[in-house]
């Protein structure tokens, strides 16, 4: 954990050389450690449940980030892959009694395979055509989930008959002692964060971003764009598949209904998370997922205090939609992008101040990695 947060700070330092270690590392480390205290800080089980949801969303969003944020490919099949992971886990758990420790990689791999299978034809196109082909595949998969009744039990979906209670030596329970389940989910949320971080730092990640930034240029430089898009899609599918296991455990069931991973609702929801969080930032999807889950909890009571009074969901949605539009128009890089800009300005001012004081540039200023 420490290493990860240090490296985060390192990346930020590199992007904004005049940053002071204390002003960036400490707040970031605190922010990243805060979720560890959630069971103690959150006043109700309902909110802890929401924190679990946020952690699951975060894994899914981080996966989408690899293909949409990094590689720039607008996949509309991502949440369906999440569902594929959940179905795989449910089938293996119900019919073959696989343990959790085996379900997680199995779900991840099956979703990754599904992603690659969709990607092989879909990446022959680009742009909006790609988006709509992935959407078409998502719709077909949903139709299959509803109609291949022998396998999927149709619209009723699959239910875990005996809820899981342990992974290896760690025991967890989803009703009375949520803490352990929360920490388990959180651990994977951190892993997913570390995953997107490591990918971003690697040659692979740089290649993804090169594709996003300028596909023709990337090709001219010898990058196999098709292959790397497939890799990105497969990786994103893996993340989604893993998250599928936690979704299954949290709900104890998976079905292809209108508020399931197979719904267009979630597809849009997750795109919005990344956009609001910041599509060009590593922490963007994390920020977006937390906002998506907790913002209504904060906004509702706050607005309740104003003359607007108790807001209907419709009005909340209107506010949410308007916020999105305004975000795109005035802060197209999302919350994280804004924060970076503000921080960059602050750091630059700090630097100027120091220079005037006659001090040398602080350590890290020239630290290019």
């Amino acid at each position: 954990m420490v290493a990860v947060s240090r490296s985060f700070a390192g990346t930020l330092l590199r992007q904004y050389p005049p940053a002071d270690i204390l002003t960036i590392r400490l707040p970031l480390a605190i922010l990243l450690a805060l979720p560890l205290l959630a069971p103690m800080l959150l006043p109700s089980t309902r909110l802890l449940s929401l924190a679990i949801t946020a952690a699951i969303f975060l894994i899914v969003a981080n996966g989408l980030h690899i293909v949409f944020g990094y590689t720039g490919q607008l996949s509309l099949a991502h949440t369906t892959l999440w569902g594929v992971g959940a179905y795989t886990a449910a089938l293996l758990a119900i019919h073959y009694g696989w343990p959790t420790a085996a379900l997680i990689p199995a779900a991840g791999i099956s979703a990754a395979i599904a992603a690659v299978a969709i990607g092989i034809p879909a990446f022959r196109t680009a742009g909006f055509s790609f988006a709509i082909i992935t959407f078409a595949f998502a719709e077909i998969l949903r139709t299959v989930a509803i109609n291949w009744r022998d396998l999927t039990n149709g619209g009723a979906g699959l239910m875990l008959r005996t809820p899981p209670t342990s992974i290896g030596p760690i025991e967890f329970e989803t009703i009375r002692h949520l803490d352990n389940f929360y920490y388990l989910t959180l651990a994977f949320a951190y892993l997913s964060l570390a995953g997107v971080f490591l990918i971003r730092q690697s040659r692979l990640g740089r290649t993804f971003i090169a594709i996003r930034e300028n596909e023709s240029l990337a090709r001219s430089l010898g990058i196999n764009v098709y292959l790397h898009k497939l890799i990105a899609f497969g990786l994103s599918g893996f993340f989604a598949g893993v998250a599928g296991v936690f979704l299954l455990y949290n709900n104890q069931k998976i079905e292809p209904g209108p508020l399931s991973p197979f719904s267009a609702f979630f597809t849009i929801q997750f795109l919005l998370m990344i956009l609001i969080g910041g599509r060009f930032s590593m922490l963007g999807p994390t920020i977006g997922a937390v906002i998506a889950v907790f913002a209504p909890e904060v906004i509702r009571p706050l607005i309740g205090l104003t003359p607007l009074g108790d807001l209907s969901t419709a009005r909340i949605q209107i506010i949410f939609g308007s916020t999105l539009v305004l975000t795109v128009l005035f802060a197209p890089n999302g919350v994280a992008g804004q924060a970076k800009e503000r921080y960059g300005a602050l750091a630059a001012a700090l630097q100027k101040f120091r220079e005037r004081q006659g001090g040398a540039a602080p350590p890290g200023a020239a630290a290019g990695g």
């Binding site: 196109t125 909006f128 055509s129 078409a136 795109l271 939609g321």
Partner: protein, 295 residues
């Protein structure tokens, strides 16, 4: 007529009506895309708005035949406002325009719920007769929808081909910078096209209000089909959209009529995937610099 034939004719007629509606939505999407590269997903909500406004005008005592154009004008104007207020800031980044339209879906859909509630509205039926010809039941209302769609599509072609605005629009679609150099008021043309796209969707909505019961979530279904049609036809290509609308309408109707109905959406989307794999830019790719850079 043999029974098989009359059933087939019936299905053909069924397909025709729905194709007309799809064509109008797809045209709305396609003209805006052809010009700006923005995929305006919120057009589905403009359709819903058109349907509910038509209903509101009709409820207020206007005849249906006046209510639809009124709704179209109102939604066209609204769409113009949206372009001025939001979309024009995203012209250099079409994906941002797409995202703005996603946000607008939430805003508009819930605005409609706020105003009209979540319930459904029964269809307005200016024509209640049903013609029976050789075992084929043809509600006059459906014929009316077909003909209105045909007339509007015809008018649109004429406008695009023969009017100054149409030529300006095609020039802008071909190359916006060059058009600006030639003295075409590009901003005005784009704003006008947003109004046109909105009005087309609203007309589709108004016509739907005369065929089916409407509810605030009407838009998404038609948006997806309209979008599929626009893609199959070649985004930005007006003629392609019309042909593709008939193709998709036929696939859907014949699929439901003769094969297992529950897989209907799989037929449509399977067709879409197949076509886009063979022809990634649709059956009739639009020409123009924009299309080449975007697709």
């Amino acid at each position: 007529m043999s029974q098989e034939l009359s059933v087939f004719m019936q299905q053909l007629f069924n397909a025709l009506t729905i194709s007309g509606v799809y064509a109008l939505v797809a045209l709305g999407i396609t003209v805006i895309f052809g010009l700006t590269g923005i995929v305006k997903f919120s057009i589905g909500e403009l359709l819903t708005l058109g349907a509910f406004l038509t209903f509101a005008f009709w409820e207020g005592g206007t005849t249906f035949f006046l209510a639809v154009p009124l709704a179209a004008i109102a939604v066209g104007g609204f769409s113009l406002l949206l372009e001025r207020g939001a979309f024009r800031f995203t012209l250099d980044q079409p994906i941002n325009g797409f995202i703005v339209s996603l946000g607008l879906i939430l805003v508009l859909q819930n605005l409609i719920i706020e105003i009209w509630g979540v319930g459904f509205k029964a269809p307005i039926r200016p024509f209640t007769q049903v013609w029976e010809v050789g075992g084929v039941s043809m509600p006059v209302q459906r014929w009316f929808v077909v003909w209105v769609a045909v007339v509007i599509i015809g008018l649109l072609f004429m406008v695009l081909r023969y009017t100054k605005y149409g030529r300006a629009m095609r020039a802008c679609a071909e190359d916006r910078d060059a058009a600006a150099l030639m003295g075409i008021p590009v901003a005005l043309v784009i704003a006008g096209t947003f109004a046109l796209g909105g009005a087309l969707a609203a007309t589709a909505g108004g016509l739907l209000a005369s065929l089916f019961a409407i509810q605030p979530f009407l838009g998404s279904q038609y948006l997806l089909k309209g979008f599929a049609v626009a893609l199959v036809g070649g985004l930005g290509n007006v003629e392609g959209a019309v042909i593709a609308a008939v193709l998709v309408g036929l696939t859907e109707t014949m699929g439901s009529g003769y094969l297992a109905t529950e897989w209907r959406d799989a037929y449509t989307f399977g067709l879409l995937i197949a076509i886009l794999l063979v022809r990634p830019r649709g059956l009739f790719p639009a020409r123009g610099r924009l299309q080449e850079t975007l697709q």
